[in-house]
């Protein structure tokens, strides 16, 4: 995996007394202490974070936690006091903190695009002129610019609106213009500073879905700032939680939910519905931890209601439920199965916990088996595994 953006011990201080503040950061002082002693505002301290190509890395935290500050260091909208921000620039790696103006401008025009919370559209320009802003600044000839702008407007379903002014559009549409403007530069790295926070919940969900759809095609590297954990869990492949300018925890969404690093993170996830994050993989018991019977039979649950006979290749040869032969069917088909037949459902590691629970519900709380890509048996989920994951016990 290639690294797209690498923050290395980034400190950002706003104010005159940089040296004094940095010394206090080294001594581990909090933001309030630094403000009182030096009058400077601590933006973020000692932030190290690696963002790989093609991933959506979400920076999370309450307002004032330094998440936007860190994001804006990537294109030097905020000046870094100490540390490195390495950004992939074609085959090279550029340190944004120390690079010259010409390099910075090239990065901003070609490598790093940005989407703003308040959209940042120019009100005297039409939609297409707004989308073409980045290309215009980079000196792309008009014919090519028109063509690329048109393509982006089609992508976000705004081609009917190209001649309108920004204020004639709804908030959701304005942000789609903002997205198109960022995509139009074809920059591989996208900075999104709470892009959907100013929108109402329905539109927000819709735009999140659209972003995920576009991302599946475009495979950008996205750094996304949000204060909404549901949003972060939905779109993030990695989540970084910040508090008072410092990074508290970084990890995959389910890591954050299952293993919060401290009380701050625990408070954060307290109201999160675990069903929206957890997958079958997160809650299963491994095959080796299951109770083995004779002749290759394995009990799927502690109550010993269901067992599989596994052959030498790891495939299921036979299934039994309450002592009677049973069929095994995929969770994906749970809706279409008649309930009379004795059946055991199986899932893939990526199947959501919600689907697994539905399968349990349909099969009178029978355990759910887990198969890998080659249909080999890897583990099972019993009702107790689900309950403990949901209750986080």
């Amino acid at each position: 995996m290639t690294v797209a953006v690498d923050f290395r011990n980034v400190d950002i201080v706003f104010g005159a007394d940089q040296a004094g503040s940095l010394a206090m950061i080294d001594a581990g002082a909090t933001r309030a202490e630094i403000l009182e002693k030096t009058g400077n505002v601590l933006g973020c301290a000692g932030a190290s974070l690696t963002v790989n190509e093609g991933e959506i890395s979400v920076l999370m935290g309450l307002s004032g936690s330094g998440k936007s500050t860190l994001l804006r260091a990537v294109n030097r909208l905020n000046v870094v006091s100490r540390g490195q921000v390495l950004v992939k620039d074609g085959d090279k790696i550029v340190d944004v903190v120390t690079c010259d103006q010409a390099t910075l401008r090239r990065l901003r025009q070609k490598q790093v695009a940005m989407v703003f919370q308040q959209f940042g559209l120019l009100p005297w320009r039409t939609v297409e002129e707004n989308v073409g802003l980045g290309l215009e600044l980079a000196g792309v000839p008009e014919a090519e610019r028109k063509e690329r702008v048109h393509r982006q407007l089609k992508l976000v379903n705004l081609d009917q609106w190209s001649k309108k002014y920004a204020h004639e559009l709804s908030g959701g549409m304005q942000q789609r213009v903002g997205l198109a403007r960022a995509f139009a530069t074809e920059a591989p790295i996208l900075l999104m500073d709470e892009p959907f926070s100013a929108l109402d919940p329905l539109i927000r969900t819709k735009l999140q879905d659209e972003l995920l759809q576009l991302q599946a095609e475009l495979k950008k590297t996205i750094i996304f700032v949000s204060h909404d954990l549901e949003e972060a869990l939905k779109i993030g492949s990695h989540i970084t939680i910040m508090e008072g300018g410092r990074i508290v925890q970084t990890g995959a969404p389910e890591d954050i939910v299952l293993r919060p690093a401290n009380d701050y993170v625990r408070d954060f996830i307290a109201n999160v519905n675990p069903l929206s994050v957890l997958t079958a993989w997160n809650v299963m018991r491994d095959r080796r931890d299951l109770e083995q019977g004779k002749d290759g039979w394995v009990w799927l649950d502690r109550r010993k209601t269901t067992r599989f006979k596994i052959d030498d290749h790891g495939l299921v040869a036979a299934a039994e439920r309450d002592g009677k032969p049973a069929v095994w069917v995929s969770c994906a088909d749970v809706e279409s199965q008649p309930e009379e037949v004795a059946q055991v459902f199986w899932a893939n590691p990526g199947t959501s916990l919600k689907t697994v629970m539905l399968a349990m519900h349909r099969s009178q709380t029978a355990p759910v088996a887990l198969f890998d890509d080659q249909s080999r048996f890897v583990g099972a989920i019993g009702i107790r595994d689900v309950l403990s994951a949901v209750l986080r016990r």
Partner: protein, 284 residues
């Protein structure tokens, strides 16, 4: 007089004398330069007036109405402009009106040409603005008559000193409104420009100036109105036009003449105001 006041009066700071000495120094040493400048300017202004007066008045009124239509795309406005100018011709004040028009447009144009760059500079450099502010206050509050005198001694009588006095009076407005316009460009759109890699000059031309344009245009309209308000003063030092008529009416207590010339100024003011309201209201 009490002794303390007497003491202070005895040691009066000779500001007046210093000022007089300064202007005396200028006239003694650079008189030819100032006079040459003044003569050149007079020649230009008079030439322009004469060219415009060679055009038949009704035709010129039509041309101005056409310009109004081009600027604002409004038929009622063009008709109104034309009727207003016809009224002036009817009052037999056309020659004076053209003189005033040339003076006002030249003064406003010069004030904008100097004031807009200064305003942009001040908006980008808060320190510059702090230094500039008291100077602007001085230019606006010092009674006009006070600087009529040195301008008169330096440049003599005529249109040129009238123009210079008017420009001095109007520049602060151009500077202030430009400064206001550029300073109040929303931070979010400046950052959008920066984030997409704008150079300093791209940021100015593609983000700051378009955003500040309505305020700057309000500055132009204000400059024209203030220039018009100066024509009576400018007439005191020999600038021709409607101001001269009003001064004459005042001197000979001619209510009729004063009313006619005053109304002509009002008509001219309304015409210029409506014509220059670009980007204010209308389309955003």
């Amino acid at each position: 007089m009490d002794p303390i006041s007497q003491f202070m009066v005895d040691h009066k700071i000779p500001i007046g004398a210093w000022g007089k000495a300064f202007f005396g120094f200028l006239t003694d040493n650079f008189d030819t330069i100032f006079r040459a400048f003044s003569n050149g300017l007079n020649f230009l202004l008079d030439g322009l007036v004469n060219i415009l007066l060679m055009v038949p008045p009704v035709l010129l009124a039509l041309v101005i109405a056409a310009i109004a239509w081009l600027l604002q795309r409004s038929r009622p406005l063009a008709i109104g402009v034309f009727l207003g100018l016809i009224f002036i011709i009817n009052q037999n004040l056309w020659k004076q009106t053209v003189q005033t028009l040339v003076l006002v447009v030249a003064a406003a144009a010069m004030a904008m040409a100097i004031g807009v760059p200064l305003g942009i500079w001040a908006a980008h450099k808060p320190k510059v603005y702090r230094v500039m502010l008291p100077v602007l206050d001085l230019m606006q509050t010092l009674p006009t008559f006070v600087y009529l005198i040195p301008v008169l001694t330096l440049f003599g009588l005529g249109n040129a000193p009238g123009l210079i006095v008017t420009i001095i009076f109007v520049i602060p407005t151009a500077v202030r409104l430009t400064h206001l316009g550029v300073v109040s460009v929303p931070k979010s759109i400046i950052e959008a420009g920066e984030a997409f890699g704008a150079t300093k000059s791209q940021l100015l031309w593609k983000v700051e100036l378009p955003s500040a344009l309505p305020t700057i245009m309000a500055g132009l309209t204000q400059s024209i109105m203030l220039s018009l308000s100066m024509v009576v003063f400018a007439a005191l030092i020999g600038a021709g036009g409607l101001g001269t008529e009003i001064n004459r009416a005042l001197g000979s207590r001619r209510i009729d003449l004063g009313l006619e010339a005053g109304l002509a100024i009002v008509v001219l003011a309304i015409v210029l105001d409506r014509m220059t309201r670009i980007g204010v209201g209308g389309k955003k």
